[in-house]
Protein backbone atom coordinates (compact mmCIF):
# COMPACT_ATOMS: atom_id res chain seq x y z
CA UNK A 1 0.00 0.00 0.00
CA UNK A 2 1.20 3.49 -0.72
CA UNK A 3 -0.66 5.84 1.61
CA UNK A 4 -4.12 5.37 3.07
CA UNK A 5 -6.66 6.69 0.57
CA UNK A 6 -8.19 9.89 1.99
CA UNK A 7 -7.65 8.76 5.58
CA UNK A 8 -10.42 9.31 8.13
CA UNK A 9 -10.61 8.46 11.81
CA UNK A 10 -12.99 5.86 13.22
CA UNK A 11 -14.17 8.35 15.79
CA UNK A 12 -11.96 8.73 18.84
CA UNK A 13 -10.51 5.22 18.55
CA UNK A 14 -7.70 6.86 16.63
CA UNK A 15 -7.84 4.10 14.02
CA UNK A 16 -7.25 5.45 10.54
CA UNK A 17 -9.17 4.01 7.63
CA UNK A 18 -9.56 4.89 3.98
CA UNK A 19 -12.67 6.82 2.92
CA UNK A 20 -13.82 3.65 1.18
CA UNK A 21 -14.38 0.34 2.91
CA UNK A 22 -14.29 -2.85 0.84
CA UNK A 23 -17.37 -4.96 1.56
CA UNK A 24 -16.94 -8.71 1.91
CA UNK A 25 -20.42 -9.80 0.84
CA UNK A 26 -19.25 -9.98 -2.79
CA UNK A 27 -16.63 -12.62 -1.97
CA UNK A 28 -17.20 -16.33 -1.47
CA UNK A 29 -18.54 -19.49 -2.99
CA UNK A 30 -21.76 -18.91 -4.93
CA UNK A 31 -24.73 -20.75 -3.48
CA UNK A 32 -28.46 -20.80 -4.20
CA UNK A 33 -28.91 -20.68 -0.41
CA UNK A 34 -27.00 -17.38 -0.09
CA UNK A 35 -25.86 -15.44 -3.16
CA UNK A 36 -25.16 -16.72 -6.64
CA UNK A 37 -23.23 -13.65 -7.75
CA UNK A 38 -20.24 -13.85 -5.39
CA UNK A 39 -16.72 -14.09 -6.82
CA UNK A 40 -14.10 -16.82 -6.44
CA UNK A 41 -10.75 -16.83 -4.65
CA UNK A 42 -8.72 -15.63 -7.63
CA UNK A 43 -11.07 -12.73 -8.40
CA UNK A 44 -11.24 -11.86 -4.70
CA UNK A 45 -7.45 -11.63 -4.64
CA UNK A 46 -7.48 -9.33 -7.67
CA UNK A 47 -10.02 -6.99 -6.05
CA UNK A 48 -8.26 -6.91 -2.68
CA UNK A 49 -4.84 -6.47 -4.32
CA UNK A 50 -6.06 -3.54 -6.40
CA UNK A 51 -7.78 -1.95 -3.42
CA UNK A 52 -4.77 -2.31 -1.12
CA UNK A 53 -2.33 -1.04 -3.78
CA UNK A 54 -4.50 2.05 -4.05
CA UNK A 55 -4.68 2.82 -0.36
CA UNK A 56 -7.85 1.03 0.76
CA UNK A 57 -7.00 -0.49 4.14
CA UNK A 58 -10.49 -1.27 5.46
CA UNK A 59 -12.36 -4.57 4.80
CA UNK A 60 -15.71 -5.44 6.34
CA UNK A 61 -17.05 -8.99 6.25
CA UNK A 62 -19.18 -11.35 8.35
CA UNK A 63 -18.90 -14.88 9.69
CA UNK A 64 -21.99 -15.85 7.72
CA UNK A 65 -21.24 -14.35 4.30
CA UNK A 66 -21.27 -17.23 1.80
CA UNK A 67 -21.15 -19.62 4.76
CA UNK A 68 -17.70 -18.48 5.86
CA UNK A 69 -16.08 -18.57 2.43
CA UNK A 70 -16.01 -14.75 2.22
CA UNK A 71 -13.66 -14.69 5.23
CA UNK A 72 -11.77 -17.65 3.81
CA UNK A 73 -11.12 -15.99 0.45
CA UNK A 74 -10.16 -12.71 2.13
CA UNK A 75 -7.70 -14.61 4.34
CA UNK A 76 -6.18 -16.39 1.35
CA UNK A 77 -5.86 -13.12 -0.57
CA UNK A 78 -4.11 -11.36 2.32
CA UNK A 79 -1.69 -14.28 2.61
CA UNK A 80 -0.98 -14.64 -1.11
CA UNK A 81 -0.52 -10.90 -1.55
CA UNK A 82 1.78 -10.72 1.50
CA UNK A 83 -0.20 -7.84 2.96
CA UNK A 84 1.10 -7.02 6.46
CA UNK A 85 -1.77 -7.58 8.89
CA UNK A 86 -1.07 -4.39 10.83
CA UNK A 87 -1.71 -2.36 7.69
CA UNK A 88 -5.28 -3.63 7.46
CA UNK A 89 -8.39 -2.85 9.44
CA UNK A 90 -10.44 -6.07 9.41
CA UNK A 91 -14.02 -6.10 10.63
CA UNK A 92 -16.37 -9.07 10.95
CA UNK A 93 -19.63 -9.92 12.71
CA UNK A 94 -21.36 -12.36 15.04
CA UNK A 95 -25.07 -13.03 15.24
CA UNK A 96 -26.54 -14.85 12.24
CA UNK A 97 -25.11 -18.15 13.41
CA UNK A 98 -26.23 -21.08 15.46
CA UNK A 99 -26.59 -20.03 19.07
CA UNK A 100 -26.72 -16.30 18.20
CA UNK A 101 -24.90 -14.44 20.96
CA UNK A 102 -24.49 -17.12 23.57
CA UNK A 103 -21.09 -17.34 25.20
CA UNK A 104 -20.46 -20.62 23.42
CA UNK A 105 -21.52 -19.24 20.05
CA UNK A 106 -19.43 -16.08 20.36
CA UNK A 107 -16.34 -18.09 21.24
CA UNK A 108 -16.85 -20.59 18.44
CA UNK A 109 -17.70 -17.97 15.84
CA UNK A 110 -14.84 -15.57 16.57
CA UNK A 111 -12.36 -18.42 16.68
CA UNK A 112 -13.73 -19.56 13.31
CA UNK A 113 -13.47 -16.05 11.88
CA UNK A 114 -9.85 -15.67 13.01
CA UNK A 115 -8.99 -19.04 11.53
CA UNK A 116 -10.67 -18.32 8.20
CA UNK A 117 -9.10 -14.89 7.91
CA UNK A 118 -5.73 -16.31 8.94
CA UNK A 119 -5.21 -13.70 11.62
CA UNK A 120 -4.94 -13.63 15.39
CA UNK A 121 -7.02 -10.53 15.94
CA UNK A 122 -9.89 -8.56 14.49
CA UNK A 123 -9.72 -4.80 14.43
CA UNK A 124 -13.46 -4.58 14.82
CA UNK A 125 -16.43 -6.87 15.28
CA UNK A 126 -20.17 -6.33 15.07
CA UNK A 127 -22.54 -7.92 17.50
CA UNK A 128 -25.96 -7.56 16.03
CA UNK A 129 -28.47 -6.68 18.69
CA UNK A 130 -31.89 -5.13 18.77
CA UNK A 131 -33.40 -2.56 21.02
CA UNK A 132 -35.12 -4.57 23.67
CA UNK A 133 -33.51 -7.52 25.40
CA UNK A 134 -30.37 -7.51 23.40
CA UNK A 135 -29.00 -4.27 24.73
CA UNK A 136 -29.09 -5.26 28.36
CA UNK A 137 -26.21 -4.41 30.61
CA UNK A 138 -25.86 -8.13 31.21
CA UNK A 139 -25.31 -8.80 27.52
CA UNK A 140 -22.79 -6.00 27.16
CA UNK A 141 -20.90 -7.20 30.22
CA UNK A 142 -20.90 -10.71 28.87
CA UNK A 143 -19.52 -9.64 25.50
CA UNK A 144 -16.90 -7.46 27.04
CA UNK A 145 -15.80 -10.07 29.56
CA UNK A 146 -15.32 -12.51 26.75
CA UNK A 147 -13.43 -10.04 24.62
CA UNK A 148 -11.10 -9.12 27.45
CA UNK A 149 -10.41 -12.80 27.92
CA UNK A 150 -9.34 -13.16 24.31
CA UNK A 151 -7.27 -9.97 24.37
CA UNK A 152 -7.00 -10.04 20.61
CA UNK A 153 -10.06 -8.05 19.66
CA UNK A 154 -9.35 -4.36 19.77
CA UNK A 155 -12.76 -3.13 18.83
CA UNK A 156 -16.31 -4.16 19.37
CA UNK A 157 -19.20 -3.08 17.23
CA UNK A 158 -22.58 -3.52 18.74
CA UNK A 159 -25.05 -3.32 15.91
CA UNK A 160 -28.20 -1.86 17.34
CA UNK A 161 -31.24 -2.59 15.29
CA UNK A 162 -34.35 -0.41 15.27
CA UNK A 163 -32.52 2.08 17.30
CA UNK A 164 -33.74 5.44 18.42
CA UNK A 165 -31.91 8.26 20.05
CA UNK A 166 -32.97 7.46 23.58
CA UNK A 167 -31.86 3.88 23.31
CA UNK A 168 -28.70 4.91 21.55
CA UNK A 169 -27.77 7.28 24.36
CA UNK A 170 -28.71 4.71 26.94
CA UNK A 171 -26.47 2.10 25.29
CA UNK A 172 -23.61 4.52 25.02
CA UNK A 173 -23.92 5.47 28.65
CA UNK A 174 -23.85 1.83 29.63
CA UNK A 175 -20.77 1.29 27.52
CA UNK A 176 -19.28 4.44 28.97
CA UNK A 177 -19.70 2.91 32.39
CA UNK A 178 -17.63 0.00 31.21
CA UNK A 179 -14.80 2.23 30.02
CA UNK A 180 -15.36 1.55 26.36
CA UNK A 181 -15.22 4.64 24.22
CA UNK A 182 -17.55 4.32 21.25
CA UNK A 183 -16.03 5.30 17.97
CA UNK A 184 -18.00 4.35 14.89
CA UNK A 185 -21.33 3.44 13.44
CA UNK A 186 -22.00 1.16 10.48
CA UNK A 187 -25.39 2.41 9.48
CA UNK A 188 -26.82 1.12 12.72
CA UNK A 189 -23.69 -0.31 14.33
CA UNK A 190 -21.70 1.03 17.21
CA UNK A 191 -17.99 0.45 17.36
CA UNK A 192 -16.39 0.70 20.74
CA UNK A 193 -12.71 0.51 21.40
CA UNK A 194 -11.43 -1.89 24.02
CA UNK A 195 -8.94 -0.74 26.61
CA UNK A 196 -5.43 -1.38 25.36
CA UNK A 197 -4.10 -4.75 26.30
Amino acid sequence: MTEILHPVRLGHSGIEVSSLCLGGMSFGEPSPKFHQWTIGPKETEEVIGYAFDNGINFIDTANGYAFGTSEEYIGKAIKNLHIPREQLVLASKVYFNEGRLSRKAITREIEGTLHRLGTDYLTSISFIVSTTTRLSKKLLKHLIRWLKQVKCVHLVQVKCMRINCTICKCALNKMGGLNLPVCSVTTICFTVKMNEK
Binding site: H35, Q36, V47, I128, S130, T133, R162, C165, T191
Partner: protein, 144 residues
Protein backbone atom coordinates in the same frame (compact mmCIF):
# COMPACT_ATOMS: atom_id res chain seq x y z
CA UNK B 1 -29.25 9.04 15.07
CA UNK B 2 -26.53 10.90 13.15
CA UNK B 3 -26.39 13.84 15.59
CA UNK B 4 -26.04 11.36 18.46
CA UNK B 5 -23.16 9.65 16.65
CA UNK B 6 -21.48 13.00 16.20
CA UNK B 7 -22.06 13.91 19.82
CA UNK B 8 -20.23 10.75 20.89
CA UNK B 9 -17.53 11.09 18.21
CA UNK B 10 -18.48 8.02 16.21
CA UNK B 11 -17.66 7.48 12.56
CA UNK B 12 -20.41 6.51 10.12
CA UNK B 13 -19.64 3.65 7.72
CA UNK B 14 -22.88 2.72 5.90
CA UNK B 15 -23.40 -0.50 3.97
CA UNK B 16 -25.29 -0.70 0.66
CA UNK B 17 -24.43 2.88 -0.38
CA UNK B 18 -25.28 2.02 -4.00
CA UNK B 19 -28.54 0.26 -3.06
CA UNK B 20 -27.44 -3.11 -4.49
CA UNK B 21 -26.69 -1.44 -7.81
CA UNK B 22 -29.91 0.56 -8.20
CA UNK B 23 -27.89 3.79 -8.07
CA UNK B 24 -25.44 2.63 -10.74
CA UNK B 25 -27.72 2.51 -13.81
CA UNK B 26 -30.69 4.49 -15.08
CA UNK B 27 -33.00 1.46 -15.16
CA UNK B 28 -34.31 -0.35 -12.08
CA UNK B 29 -33.78 -3.85 -13.50
CA UNK B 30 -30.71 -5.22 -15.20
CA UNK B 31 -29.66 -8.58 -16.58
CA UNK B 32 -26.72 -8.97 -14.18
CA UNK B 33 -26.46 -12.22 -12.25
CA UNK B 34 -27.24 -10.35 -9.04
CA UNK B 35 -30.29 -8.62 -10.46
CA UNK B 36 -31.71 -11.85 -11.77
CA UNK B 37 -30.95 -14.13 -8.81
CA UNK B 38 -30.76 -12.07 -5.60
CA UNK B 39 -34.11 -12.29 -3.84
CA UNK B 40 -32.76 -10.53 -0.73
CA UNK B 41 -32.01 -7.49 -2.87
CA UNK B 42 -35.51 -7.54 -4.37
CA UNK B 43 -37.01 -7.94 -0.95
CA UNK B 44 -35.08 -4.93 0.31
CA UNK B 45 -35.56 -2.48 -2.52
CA UNK B 46 -38.32 -3.42 -4.98
CA UNK B 47 -41.23 -2.17 -2.92
CA UNK B 48 -39.84 1.37 -3.14
CA UNK B 49 -39.21 1.24 -6.86
CA UNK B 50 -41.78 3.92 -7.72
CA UNK B 51 -40.61 6.37 -5.08
CA UNK B 52 -36.91 5.71 -5.71
CA UNK B 53 -36.87 5.96 -9.51
CA UNK B 54 -37.06 9.78 -9.51
CA UNK B 55 -33.87 9.81 -7.42
CA UNK B 56 -32.20 7.28 -9.73
CA UNK B 57 -33.10 9.61 -12.62
CA UNK B 58 -31.52 12.59 -10.86
CA UNK B 59 -28.35 10.59 -10.12
CA UNK B 60 -28.20 9.73 -13.84
CA UNK B 61 -28.69 13.37 -14.75
CA UNK B 62 -25.86 14.58 -12.50
CA UNK B 63 -23.61 11.75 -13.71
CA UNK B 64 -24.07 13.00 -17.26
CA UNK B 65 -23.33 16.56 -16.21
CA UNK B 66 -20.16 15.56 -14.33
CA UNK B 67 -19.23 13.02 -17.03
CA UNK B 68 -18.75 10.21 -14.49
CA UNK B 69 -20.49 6.86 -13.84
CA UNK B 70 -23.64 7.11 -11.69
CA UNK B 71 -21.97 5.17 -8.84
CA UNK B 72 -19.54 8.06 -8.40
CA UNK B 73 -22.38 10.56 -7.89
CA UNK B 74 -24.01 8.26 -5.32
CA UNK B 75 -20.73 7.84 -3.42
CA UNK B 76 -19.92 11.55 -3.66
CA UNK B 77 -23.28 12.29 -2.03
CA UNK B 78 -22.19 10.29 1.06
CA UNK B 79 -18.95 12.22 1.46
CA UNK B 80 -20.76 15.51 0.83
CA UNK B 81 -22.95 14.50 3.78
CA UNK B 82 -19.91 13.96 5.99
CA UNK B 83 -19.90 10.15 5.91
CA UNK B 84 -16.49 8.67 6.80
CA UNK B 85 -16.35 5.45 4.77
CA UNK B 86 -19.17 3.89 2.73
CA UNK B 87 -18.81 0.09 2.36
CA UNK B 88 -18.84 -0.98 -1.29
CA UNK B 89 -18.83 -4.46 -2.75
CA UNK B 90 -16.64 -4.87 -5.82
CA UNK B 91 -16.66 -7.80 -8.22
CA UNK B 92 -13.68 -6.55 -10.24
CA UNK B 93 -10.78 -4.09 -9.88
CA UNK B 94 -12.49 -1.64 -12.26
CA UNK B 95 -15.28 -1.22 -9.70
CA UNK B 96 -12.70 -0.41 -7.02
CA UNK B 97 -11.22 2.19 -9.36
CA UNK B 98 -14.69 3.72 -9.84
CA UNK B 99 -14.92 4.14 -6.08
CA UNK B 100 -11.49 5.73 -5.89
CA UNK B 101 -12.28 8.13 -8.74
CA UNK B 102 -15.48 9.10 -6.94
CA UNK B 103 -13.37 10.85 -4.30
CA UNK B 104 -12.55 13.46 -6.95
CA UNK B 105 -16.23 14.26 -7.54
CA UNK B 106 -17.47 17.25 -5.55
CA UNK B 107 -21.17 17.97 -5.38
CA UNK B 108 -22.39 21.48 -4.67
CA UNK B 109 -24.92 22.09 -1.88
CA UNK B 110 -27.47 22.71 -4.62
CA UNK B 111 -26.76 19.35 -6.24
CA UNK B 112 -27.01 17.54 -2.89
CA UNK B 113 -30.39 19.18 -2.28
CA UNK B 114 -31.50 18.26 -5.81
CA UNK B 115 -30.72 14.57 -5.17
CA UNK B 116 -32.53 14.56 -1.84
CA UNK B 117 -35.61 16.54 -2.82
CA UNK B 118 -37.75 13.58 -4.07
CA UNK B 119 -36.79 11.32 -1.14
CA UNK B 120 -39.55 9.91 1.05
CA UNK B 121 -38.86 7.92 4.22
CA UNK B 122 -38.69 4.15 3.66
CA UNK B 123 -39.75 1.21 5.78
CA UNK B 124 -36.79 -0.16 7.72
CA UNK B 125 -34.70 -2.64 5.77
CA UNK B 126 -32.04 -4.92 7.23
CA UNK B 127 -32.70 -4.62 10.97
CA UNK B 128 -33.81 -7.43 13.21
CA UNK B 129 -37.48 -7.23 13.98
CA UNK B 130 -38.58 -6.55 17.52
CA UNK B 131 -39.39 -9.75 19.41
CA UNK B 132 -42.78 -11.04 18.31
CA UNK B 133 -42.90 -8.96 15.14
CA UNK B 134 -42.58 -10.34 11.65
CA UNK B 135 -39.10 -10.22 10.06
CA UNK B 136 -38.17 -7.10 8.11
CA UNK B 137 -36.88 -7.21 4.56
CA UNK B 138 -33.19 -7.62 3.90
CA UNK B 139 -32.17 -9.61 6.94
CA UNK B 140 -30.27 -12.68 5.84
CA UNK B 141 -30.86 -15.15 8.62
CA UNK B 142 -30.19 -18.79 7.76
CA UNK B 143 -31.12 -19.78 11.33
CA UNK B 144 -34.48 -18.05 11.40
Amino acid sequence: MIPVCRQFDMAITPYSPLASGHLTRPTWDSDSKRSTTDSVMRNKYDRDRETDMPIVARVAELAKKHEVPMAQIALAWHWARGIEAPIIGCSKPARVEDGIQALKVTLTAKEVAYLEEPYVAHELVGPLARPGEKPLAGTTDPNA
